[in-house]
C-alpha cells in the first residue's frame, strides 16, 4: 500500500511538471465548463444545476478513459513499467497507484468546476459535500475500472484508442452526458439504463435538482462500485509490464464481464417501469425555481395570461385552445378540453386536457397536442419565462412555446405531473425567438403534447402567466 502511495504521489508530481498534462487535467475541464454551460444552461441557474452533473460525469469519464487508461498503455509501450517490475512490487501496486493518482488529481478538478459554476453561473450548491464526494468517488472508481480494463486488453495505443472511442461515444451521446435523456427517443432511454454513465448523470441530477437523498440512489452507487471493482480486478489480473506480452482473445472476452453489473441493473431498472418518467420529472424541474438561492419575483396579475376563473371568459378562452390530432403524428389519438373545479391555489376553475394516446396500426407512435395562441404586450423588461400549474396522470408531457410559423425545431421541455398541483416554468431562453425579436410584441403558440405509451391521459392546467 505504501508503495502505491509513493508511486501515486510521484505520478501527481510528474503531472504537475508536464504542461500538456496540466492543461488537460485542470484547464481543459474549466474551459469546457464555460462552453458546456454556456451552450446548454442559457444563464438559467436551474439549468446549470441540471447540467452540472453531466459535466462532472464527462470529466470523470475523460480522466478514466483518456487519462488513466491511455497513460497505462503509453507507459507499457514506452517501456517505463519494466524498471518497476524489478522492484518487489506487483501488478496490484501499479493498478492501485494509478487509481489513487487519478482520484487525487480528479478531486481538485471537481472542486474547481464547483467553484467556477457557483462563481460564474450562479449555481446554488444543492448537494452536500459528502454526497458530492460519494458520487465523484463511485464514478471515478467505475470509470477507472473501465479505463484500466481497456488498457489491459489493448495491445497497442492504436488498439486502445479504437476501444476507447467505441465506448466513449456511446456513453457521450446515449447516457445523458451531452443530450438530456428525456430528449432522446423512448427506446434509447431504455437502452441508456444499461450504460454506466447514465447512473452517475441521473444520480447527480436527482440529488441536485430534485433534492433526493444520496441513499435513494444507493443502488446506482453500488452498481458503479461493483463494476469498478470488476474492472480493477481485470486490470490487475491482465496487467502486463511489457509491450511484448500480448493478451489472448479469451482474456479479452472475459474482460467483457465487467459490464455484467450494468446488464443486471439495466434489466432491473427497465422492469421497474418508472425509469424514464423519473428522468423526465428531473428534466422538467429545470423550469422550477431552485430549491435554494435567489428566488424569482412573485407573479403579478399583470402577468396573467389565462386563469379560467370567469365562466364567461372561460368560454372565450376555450375557443383559443385547440386540440391537434394531426394524422401523421397523432395516429388514432384523441383529445378534448373541458373546465373543471376547483382550480389551482384555491381558485374555482382549471382547464382539463384529456384523451387517449393510440398509434395508428402501422405505427408505434402517437400523440395529441393542445395549442394556445397569445400575444405579449411590449414591456420595458422582457419576462423571465412562462409558467403554469399542472396536475394529472403521471406520464410524460412536453411543452414548448414558439411563433406560429417557426423555421427551426423548437426545443421542448418535458414534465411529469402528479396528483398535486405543481408549477412548470419554461424559461425565456427556451422560447424559440424569431431572429432579432424579443419575447414581447410577438404572437406565440404554447403547445402541450401528450406523448409516451398508448393509453388514457388527463392533465389539469391553470394559472398560465409570465414570470
Amino acid at each position: 500500500m505504501l508503495a502505491s502511495i509513493r508511486i501515486a504521489l510521484m505520478t501527481i508530481r510528474l503531472v504537475m511538471r508536464t504542461k500538456v498534462a496540466l492543461f488537460f487535467t485542470f484547464l481543459f475541464p474549466i474551459i469546457f465548463l464555460f462552453v458546456y454551460l454556456g451552450l446548454f444552461a442559457h444563464g438559467n441557474p436551474a439549468a446549470v444545476i441540471y447540467f452540472f452533473g453531466p459535466l462532472v460525469t464527462l470529466n470523470i469519464m475523460g480522466s478514466g478513459f483518456w487519462g488513466l487508461g491511455m497513460q497505462s498503455v503509453m507507459q507499457r509501450e514506452r517501456g517505463s513499467l519494466r524498471r518497476y517490475r524489478l522492484a518487489p512490487i506487483g501488478p496490484g501496486t501499479m493498478v492501485a497507484s494509478n487509481l489513487l493518482a487519478n482520484y487525487l488529481l480528479g478531486l481538485p478538478t471537481v472542486a474547481l468546476l464547483v467553484v467556477c459554476a457557483m462563481a460564474f453561473f450562479h449555481m446554488p450548491l444543492q448537494i452536500s459535500l459528502l454526497a458530492l464526494l460519494v458520487l465523484v468517488t463511485a464514478g471515478t472508481f467505475a470509470f477507472a475500472g473501465f479505463g484500466l480494463t481497456i488498457a489491459s486488453i489493448a495491445n497497442t495505443m492504436q488498439e486502445a484508442q479504437v476501444y476507447n472511442n467505441v465506448v466513449w461515444f456511446a456513453l457521450l451521446f446515449l447516457s445523458g452526458v451531452t443530450v438530456p435523456l428525456p430528449m432522446l427517443p423512448h427506446w434509447i432511454q431504455r437502452f441508456a439504463a444499461f450504460l454506466p454513465a447514465t447512473y452517475l448523470v441521473t444520480s447527480f441530477q436527482a440529488i441536485m435538482v430534485r433534492g433526493d437523498s444520496l441513499f435513494a440512489h444507493g443502488a446506482e452507487m453500488l452498481v458503479l462500485l461493483v463494476s469498478g471493482t470488476f474492472g480493477l480486478l481485470f486490470a490487475w489480473k491482465l496487467f502486463r509490464w511489457e509491450k511484448e506480452e500480448k493478451i489472448s482473445r479469451h482474456a479479452k472476452l472475459l474482460a467483457l464481464s465487467c459490464i455484467i453489473p450494468f446488464l443486471v441493473m439495466g434489466v432491473w431498472m427497465n422492469a421497474r417501469g418508472n425509469l424514464t418518467a423519473a428522468w423526465a420529472e428531473t428534466f422538467s424541474m429545470m423550469s422550477r425555481p431552485p430549491l435554494s438561492g435567489e428566488q424569482p419575483a412573485a407573479p403579478t396579475d399583470a402577468n396573467l395570461l389565462a386563469d379560467f376563473e370567469s365562466p364567461q371568459e372561460a368560454e372565450n378562452l376555450l375557443k383559443r385552445w385547440q386540440i391537434s390530432t394531426e394524422a401523421s403524428a397523432a395516429g388514432h389519438s384523441l383529445g378534448e378540453l373541458d373546465l373543471v373545479s376547483p382550480g389551482a391555489a384555491g381558485t374555482a376553475h382549471a382547464l382539463r386536457f384529456k384523451g387517449h394516446v393510440a398509434p395508428a396500426p402501422d405505427s408505434d407512435h402517437g400523440n395529441v397536442a393542445v395549442r394556445y395562441t397569445f400575444s405579449l404586450t411590449p414591456r420595458d423588461q422582457g419576462p423571465r419565462g412562462i409558467q403554469f400549474d399542472v396536475r394529472g396522470d403521471s406520464r410524460l408531457f412536453q411543452v414548448k412555446v414558439e411563433p406560429p410559423t417557426s423555421a427551426f425545431a423548437t426545443p421542448a421541455l418535458s414534465f411529469v405531473p402528479d396528483s398535486d398541483w405543481q408549477t412548470v416554468r419554461l424559461p425565456a431562453a427556451w422560447l424559440a425567438k424569431p431572429a432579432g425579436s424579443s419575447p414581447t410584441g410577438t404572437t406565440w403558440v404554447l403547445e402541450i403534447l401528450a406523448d409516451g405509451p398508448p393509453g388514457d391521459f388527463k392533465l389539469d392546467l391553470d394559472e398560465l402567466r409570465l414570470y
Partner: protein
C-alpha cells in the same frame, strides 16, 4: 553484502525456455560462487537476456532448476527481489523524474536501502541530482541504472548488457564502477557481447550460443584451452590460397578476409619461420605481420565456427 557461506549464489541446472518455435535456452547449466563476477558472453539472440530474466523471476523456465540466493525465483519473487539488484539492457524512466527522486522512489520499495547520498556520489550523479531523466546523457542514464540496481544494497547484482550503446570511454567508466562490486564482495552476473568486457571484468565466463553453453571457465582457462593458439594477422604482396597457408608447419588454421590472412599457430615462432620460407619460395613478400595472443573471440570462433556478431 556478501554471501557468507560457500554455497553457490546462483545455481542453474539444465534450463530450457522456448518462445513458440524458437528454443531460446537449450539446457544451460552453470553456478556462480559468492563474490564472483560471472559473465554470460554471446551474440544477440544467444539467450543471455532470457537467462538473466529467469534468474530475476521475470520469466518462467519451461524446465530445469534455478536457485538464486537459495530461493526459487518463480515462487519467491518478492523475497528474492529484496536481495538482488538488477539493471536492464535499456532503463526507461518518466521524462520528468529527477535523478534523486528516482533513487528515493525505488529505495522506498525495499525493506532496507542504501544511502542515496552515497550512491549519488559513487556513481558521479551528485551534480545531476536535480536533473530530469530526459536531460541525462546516455552514460549518465546508464550510471543511474546501475545506481538503481544497488539501491537495496543487494548481495547479487544482475547486469544485462551494462555498456551496450556506449562509446569506448564511457564503457571504461562503467567497467571501473563494476570492478568495485568485486571489491565489495558482491556477486555479479553480467551479460555482454563485448569480448573486452568479459575478459576485463569477469572471474569466469560462460560462452552462450543458440541457447547453449559452448564453453565455460576463467577467461585465461578458456583461451589456453583453445587449440588454435596465437593469432597471426598477415598481409601479403600477392594473394595465395588459404589452404596452402594452413599446410605450413605449426599453423593450426587459416582464413582470409578482406585481403588479410588470419593464421592460428602453435607454437607461433615455428609458424612465422615456416611462413617466411614459404613466401621466399613462392616469390611473394610479407607486407604486414601482427601477432596477437588468442582471445575469447577465438574461443568463440573455435566453438561455433563463426565470429561473434553483435
Amino acid at each position: 553484502m556478501p554471501n557468507e557461506n560457500n554455497s553457490a549464489v546462483v545455481h542453474v541446472q539444465n534450463l530450457h525456455k522456448r518462445y513458440g518455435n524458437l528454443e531460446a535456452l537449450r539446457g544451460i547449466t552453470f553456478e556462480i560462487k559468492p563474490g564472483e563476477v560471472f559473465g554470460l558472453l554471446g551474440p544477440n539472440g544467444a539467450g543471455k537476456t532470457t537467462a538473466i530474466e529467469i534468474l530475476e523471476g521475470l520469466r518462467q523456465p519451461d524446465s530445469g532448476t534455478v536457485t538464486v540466493c537459495g530461493m526459487d525465483p518463480a515462487r519467491e519473487k518478492g523475497a528474492l527481489k529484496e536481495r538482488i539488484g538488477a539493471q536492464l539492457q535499456a532503463t526507461v524512466l518518466p521524462d520528468k523524474i529527477r535523478v534523486q527522486e528516482a533513487l528515493e522512489l525505488f529505495a522506498g520499495f525495499y525493506h532496507q536501502s542504501a544511502s542515496i547520498e552515497v550512491l549519488l556520489e559513487r556513481f558521479g550523479l551528485a551534480e545531476k541530482r536535480r536533473a530530469f531523466f530526459e536531460k541525462l546523457s546516455g552514460g549518465q542514464k546508464q550510471r543511474l541504472a546501475l545506481a538503481l540496481a544497488l539501491v537495496n544494497n543487494p548481495e547479487l547484482v544482475l547486469l544485462d548488457e551494462p555498456t551496450v550503446g556506449l562509446d569506448a570511454q564511457l564503457r571504461r567508466d562503467i567497467y571501473a564502477l563494476i570492478e568495485q562490486f568485486r571489491t565489495e564482495g558482491r556477486t555479479t552476473l553480467l551479460t555482454t557481447h563485448y569480448i573486452e568486457e568479459a575478459e576485463r571484468l569477469c572471474d569466469r565466463v560462460a560462452i552462450l550460443d543458440h541457447g547453449q553453453v559452448v564453453a565455460m571457465g576463467t577467461p585465461r582457462e578458456l583461451v589456453h584451452s583453445s587449440g588454435k593458439g596465437t593469432r597471426l594477422e598477415v598481409r601479403l604482396a600477392k594473394p595465395v590460397l588459404p589452404d596452402r597457408l594452413k599446410q605450413l608447419d605449426a599453423v593450426v588454421d587459416c582464413r582470409e578476409a578482406e585481403g588479410r590472412y588470419f593464421l592460428h599457430a602453435q607454437p607461433p615462432a615455428r609458424a612465422v619461420a615456416a611462413l617466411m620460407r614459404f613466401l621466399e619460395a613462392e616469390g611473394n613478400a610479407l607486407l604486414d605481420l601482427h601477432i596477437a595472443p588468442p582471445t575469447l573471440e577465438d574461443v568463440f570462433i573455435e566453438m561455433t565456427g563463426r565470429r561473434m556478431e553483435a
